[in-house]
Symmetry: C3
Subunit: 656 residues, 3 copies
């Protein structure tokens, strides 16, 4: 198992390297990631490459048994690139180029930048292909910025559209340019829709897709070179969890393994739903375990930093990822840099370079991981429940939310969090996934619903699946045109309802909901109501207001061998989602092994030889959990009783 740290030898005098490598080894580390920002040292002049310093750094690490993941350094262009080729800097909406002196400021359509990127990648691949302790590559760093509005990007967009739609007639149809008389009569007329609040939403959606595609293309050009030059090395990229600008499924396709950067320690301590959900998405990108490439090692921030992790909190954060399928653990960063914009993005060591509390905690965690290593081998999360996570819907909702406050990821969170509280593992999956692998599929806020996907989902339910959707599902087709079918369109037989009208609910207004079993209780509808007319569906919850009494808030419908649940609104209460999720799980015959108390997370990794139950206390109070008795808790080596006590931020790993 790879455990290690992100290291910047270029930040420190060479004399310090051996001390650093020794301290890493003493902490139990066996890997470092390096080089993503050091282009200028590798190519100090246009076309002149010098790797001697890097060879010495790698050798110093090798002496302490540390393997290396190298990065293509294209996340920061050297000053000479910007000075010599100003067109490589992204053009902003106001017509000025980004100023050199930050990072991630390049135009992705720039031929010059693509040429330079390929040249440095090739030079590194050639130089490091046979360096003994180099084991793999990270492409660039945290793809996803910046958007660029230059003539080259506009032409690239036009060309991309031409390949996608082939004819102007098809483009005009797909974008619905009959609206506002926006018919395009030559490809050159197409503009960048630079204001997503007023341009054609279909054009905006394609512009976002094109941006994502440009990043994928940029990475692909590097990957091709690395595959050819370093056939023994794996290739990864450090993703950013729930970062919304790129289609991460697409970006992952070229890679051997997905890794990601996890920074959950900011404000007051809280239950870490989002880092759990992000981990499940990262695992879903290639449907296998992932790595942590950057893990919180201290307070982070550019201007102001966040919270210093409390004693035990760093370890807690690591275990959450392990429990969700992390197969490697790399802290960010080794030592806090004394210079530059991330002076206050703290590492395991502070500015003073001393091996203090945070270092000790990382070392302790590494030691524990070594004891778990054999048990973990070959295990992964095997979920009965999936959430469909769809970038097209995410972007379409962002461009045009419909009801005020609608945000795709927030909509997904409502159900994810209830599943988390229920102690049930979840896969986040793309719309192209095989739904039949799951007993239940949640598809909230699935704004973009092409007919094929609707049919796919309907077939899944007919064959016995349980599907849940909620308000505003299925509004648009693949190019962002609204369907002409009355909602829920092709899913009508699944849900047994019809929606003729719908209503945005202003921020300060709520409508009372009464639920009956299995979702008994009083709740409050906010943000939006579909005016759901039940057909064959059973009404599980209704409204009280005079104008909504005819409509259902929640319905359940038998369809073939399966069930369709429809939630017609956004409720204010977590308890509402807990009840709805419990009902869906019951219909799907999914049962949690352990029902955790508030603030405790449960996750399970299973493999041919092991079945491991992780319990993670996200709170600063001790927590008692009812667990299967008589099993071995691997960290203590003790047998479990019915009640297991987790200390503050505590974790347990039970071999089932």
């Amino acid at each position: 198992m790879y455990i290690g740290v992100d290291y910047y030898p270029e930040h420190w005098p060479e004399e310090r390297w051996s001390t650093d490598a020794r301290l890493m080894q003493e902490a139990g580390f066996n890997v470092v990631r390096l080089g993503e920002f050091d282009w200028v040292n590798m190519e100090p002049e246009d076309g002149v490459f010098t790797f001697a310093k890097w060879d010495r750094a790698l050798a110093a690490l090798a002496e302490r048994g540390l393997s290396a993941i190298l990065c293509t350094p294209t996340a920061v262009m050297p000053a000479w690139v910007a000075h010599k080729h100003p067109e490589t800097l992204a053009l902003q909406k106001d017509g000025t180029r980004l100023t050199w002196g930050v990072r991630k400021n390049n135009c992705f359509s720039s031929g010059t930048y693509r040429f330079l990127s390929q040249r440095i990648t090739r030079a590194m691949a050639e130089h490091f292909a046979d360096t003994p302790n180099v084991i793999g590559w990270q492409t660039d760093n945290e793809f996803g910025n910046p958007f660029c509005y230059c003539a080259s990007c506009r032409a690239d967009f036009q060309h991309w559209l031409r390949r996608k739609y082939e004819t102007l007639d098809e483009l005009n149809r797909a974008w619905g340019t009959h609206f506002w008389g926006h018919r395009i009569q030559s490809w050159e007329e197409i503009t960048i829709p630079d204001d997503a609040t007023s341009h054609n939403p279909s054009a905006c959606l394609d512009w976002q897709r094109h941006f994502s595609w440009m990043n994928v293309r940029f990475q692909h050009e590097q990957v091709e070179i690395l595959r050819a030059g370093c056939p023994r090395h794996f290739i990864t990229h450090n993703f950013m969890g729930l970062f919304p600008e790129l289609d991460y499924y697409d970006l992952a396709k070229d890679l051997d393994v997905v890794s990601w950067d996890n920074y959950p320690v900011w404000g007051a301590p809280e239950v870490r739903y989002d880092s759990s959900m992000a981990a499940d998405l990262m695992r879903g990108l290639l449907a296998r375990n992932f790595w942590i490439m950057e893990q919180t090692a201290g307070p982070g921030g550019w201007g102001a930093y966040g919270r210093n992790p409390r004693p035990g909190e760093l370890r807690n954060v690591c275990y959450q990822q392990l429990a969700h399928g992390a197969d490697a653990q790399v802290w960010f960063r080794w030592r806090t840099c004394t210079a530059g914009r991330e002076q206050y993005w703290h590492g395991l060591l502070g500015h003073d370079g001393r091996a203090l509390r945070r270092y000790q905690e990382a070392a302790q965690t590494a030691g524990e991981y070594r004891t778990l290593e054999k048990a973990l081998a070959g295990t992964t999360v095997k979920a009965d429940v999936a959430i469909l996570y769809d970038y097209d819907s995410l972007w379409a909702v962002r461009i045009q939310p419909g009801y005020g406050g609608n945000d795709y990821t927030t909509a997904v969170r409502r159900f994810y969090r209830a599943l988390f509280r229920a102690g049930v593992n979840v896969d986040l999956i793309p719309p192209t996934a095989d739904f039949s692998l799951y007993k239940a599929v949640f598809a909230p806020d699935l704004c973009v619903l092409p007919d094929a996907l609707a049919e796919h989902l309907a077939a899944y339910v007919k064959r016995g699946g349980v599907l849940l959707s909620d308000c505003r599902t299925g509004v648009k087709d693949a190019t962002g045109l609204c369907h002409e079918r009355t909602l829920p369109g092709l899913l009508a037989p699944v849900f047994g309802i019809e929606i003729q009208e719908y209503d945005a609910v202003p921020g300060n207004v709520t409508h009372a909901i009464s639920g009956r079993a299995p979702i008994a209780g009083s709740f409050n509808a906010t943000l939006s109501t579909d005016w759901v007319i039940p057909g064959t569906a059973e009404v599980l919850a209704s409204y009280q207001d005079w104008h909504l009494q005819a409509y259902a808030a929640v319905t359940r419908n038998r369809c073939g061998d399966g069930w369709g649940y429809y939630v017609g609104t956004v409720a204010k209460e977590d308890a509402f989602y807990d009840a709805v999720v419990a009902a869906v799980l019951a219909s799907a015959a999914v049962q949690a092994l352990v029902t955790p108390p508030a603030g405790v997370e449960v996750s399970r990794r299973q493999g041919p030889k092991a079945d491991l139950l992780f319990l993670i206390n996200h709170t600063e109070e001790p927590k008692a959990v009812t667990v299967p008795a008589g099993k071995t808790e691997l960290l203590s080596g003790k047998k479990t009783r019915r009640e297991l006590l987790l200390e503050r931020f505590g974790v347990a790993v039970i071999q089932l």
Copy 2:
């Protein structure tokens, strides 16, 4: 009476047109408005005109007895215009041009755009002059955007100033360029005051006037062509109620009738003061009845939509306009477009094209209107009370509010709403109006008070009129220079007071006010206090604070045969304005026919043959109103008793 809908045949396949026309006819419609965004179909290439499709659409409508109002389509330029003539796109402050792909993005000083606008207008006028069911024209669509900062607009501004001021000496005097050493020594030195918070306020005021004038000029060029080409057709424009960027009096001068776009359904239901006030302004533009050209037909919005009108609410909204003088009713829009930025701006029909609830409600309303048609003929609102609504003051206050939170329209609203609650009809009139037609004139926040207007108002009072003004009235002259007279300047004899000092009141501070009859009660002064020294005036309300005890909050003064009321502050309480308005109405011997309960609106239309009292319940609760007994309520056909019950959103029309 024209009742109809805004229709976009270009959004739908030709096969659908006959169905749409039939459904319109069945709903009782007899008119449609068309074409304002379809330039690209009429002139697909530079100078090539094709109207065949439009001829077919008009014919399909004619078959169902539907008349047509055509629009000049200059609110959206075709893509080829922007591509071929980039100078037609407005230049933003940051030096970039607006991107093609939205609407209303043209520069109004562009010679190219004016040329193209006139050419398409001429081509349409020639083509449609004799189309039988075409009855009139709408110029462009919702004038008022965008501001442009290009060299051509700057030169146009300089030229406009030259014609206005003739000499640089006069310009320098009028703008007071002695301040900050800003003397202009050649017309070319004049810049666009692009930051209204730091440039010379007089320059800013003229820049706003010039923008308004450019819109008027642009419309005028189209009107001249339409008058010449289509002498049988009327010409209108769709105004936007309280939209503040244009001098609407000026824009209306060229037109036969004012029409406007009314979208009051957004957040939680509320008493609709603003759509009532807007209607009274629309009626005031040409001092006659107006049309509704776009009326809420469903939830509207570009990114997020607002509320879905409740059952009965669409009808309620229509009747409010009818009661204030609407002579035609056109819903926006027919069917919700499945494409483009207004995908979620809903029509009477949804995306599915079915004739559902909102359609039915519109049809019901149309049917009722037909029964009222004879009674309505020749009637209009005849008000005893006027509010002076002045764009110069509106703009001057916006450029330089004086006290924080001062907004001209909000100041007007305070008195308008109290008059609404009192059940009294009001005309909103320009400063050039004949005040002698009114028993009382309210002139709140009349910041810009040229001497001629002050003398006009004083003469009105001397001859028996009742005038009310409030704090900061009369501060500036016509070019925005402050008067050198101690306030209230030439109105001092009218109000019998002197104001040597005044004070901005911070947001969290109030000063207690005690009123005596006729405005007895305790109130709180906010935002601003004029330190009013009563001369001949009677003090109706005073302050409690130590530093204000010498000053009056409200005064009343006998002047000639009339009365001058002065309100020296902004009170927090509606009750304050109710009391002040009651006092003014008493002085003016104006009495309401019906005193409505809270949430119910009263309006009256009178003509040679009829006198109609409208009662409109804006609430979701039934309301009982005391009305003249023994009259006929026209919608039910029943005789009235002393108490009339309005259901939720209900309306009644009593023939007096």
Copy 3:
């Protein structure tokens, strides 16, 4: 003593000048400041100078015994300058130049603007050198704006860096460009760090210093000309108190006297800590008394104005400055201008030009000052306590606050206000000051702590001084690199503590603090905690939270003959700072002569012949103060008893 007003003869007809001069004389004035915005009248055409009108204005003032301070008029360029030389207008980040028509819109690196500035300065110096009533000069007006991003400023910045660092190696070291691979390899590669939230903080800090230096250079070029041409005249500039953009110590160096513009009357009345603190800083710039060049004369504001000073408040504001070392009092402005952006920035006279209430109050104050004049002669504030006020730290914290909500001036305020409440005078001093002049030195938030300064402070304590610092002190060196020493670095022996970790506290979180004598009580830590490990230090306050129990909140350490106090956090309560300050004062044996009640300010001016105690009531309630009995209160001429009663806004001046 100079008492007077800022006057704009160019705003009024010449006929009015004699009336104005007479009214000034009658108010007791003997000085006016003039001309800072009137370049266009002095040089109406390029290179053509006409001073005749100014000669007449000066003569009119001379007739009434009024001396004149003239300004170089470079704060507003004439229209012809901008029209002929557009490069003199500052370039904004979006690539557009500021529009002519405001003030302070010039680029400071523009050769053209520097040439024109020197030429008009020389012409004025030559013309007015011997005008009898001209006594001195003000350079420009309120230096500090705007930042410019043009090619010339970039080149100027590169050149400035070259002179500062001499070699690129040194620049790269000083900026730590090893971070993000930002090594600079030619001076031309250096960019303007135009986004202080993402560029290298060291580069941002130097960019701010360069901007400050450009202003100083611009002034210096004028000062050289004035010194040569008008050797008899003094030179000043009107500073802006706590304005943060310039190093005011540096700007003051070229001047004979510091003057400043004081506008404390805006919102609800309050204790005026900031105008007191600003006065102490103004006095600290040259370590001597200062002038008031612009003093609130009425409501001020560009768009919306603030509060009208209450009766007695104008006088109160004046006395506060007098008490802190003002040696001249000039009101802004004489008469409210009827034109331009400052139409509502009110003077002693309103638009009507009448000598009303505010004029009378100014006249009364002037009269009182005359009676105090003899006593005041030779007196100044002699403080035992200093606060180190450091622009490098201010800027470094602004660029990178570290913990959220950290603002340097706010940090200083916490201690300043407690000292104000304690009735103790304070000097605000630069880091180069001689600390041995003070019994106690407060150095809060001293982020930038070069080794020499640390050693200087440590030596001060060892020799008996009392030093207080607080959290995040000493993080960076002179170029903004973080020290590699464990905090508090070189100050560790002074404070007897070590700080291995620190923590940002989110906005809604607090940590309970318990203090013991001398700072007994319960308080709440916010914003940030240093995790202070006491060494030799005594712990004066501790935390309650589980993770902080090992750390000290406040410590005190004996070091040599002095004391080091360390406050490891930001407390919510004023009482905390009152207690800490009391402890420090006790250690330093500093005792207040009078302990004022809440809302009353105490200050003392001492000289060879007089010792004056000022008491100022900032509230609208009368206040009783315990004072030394049997002394003379100079305004009333009465002997003091033990209790002295101050009326609302009242002041007393006791001859000790």
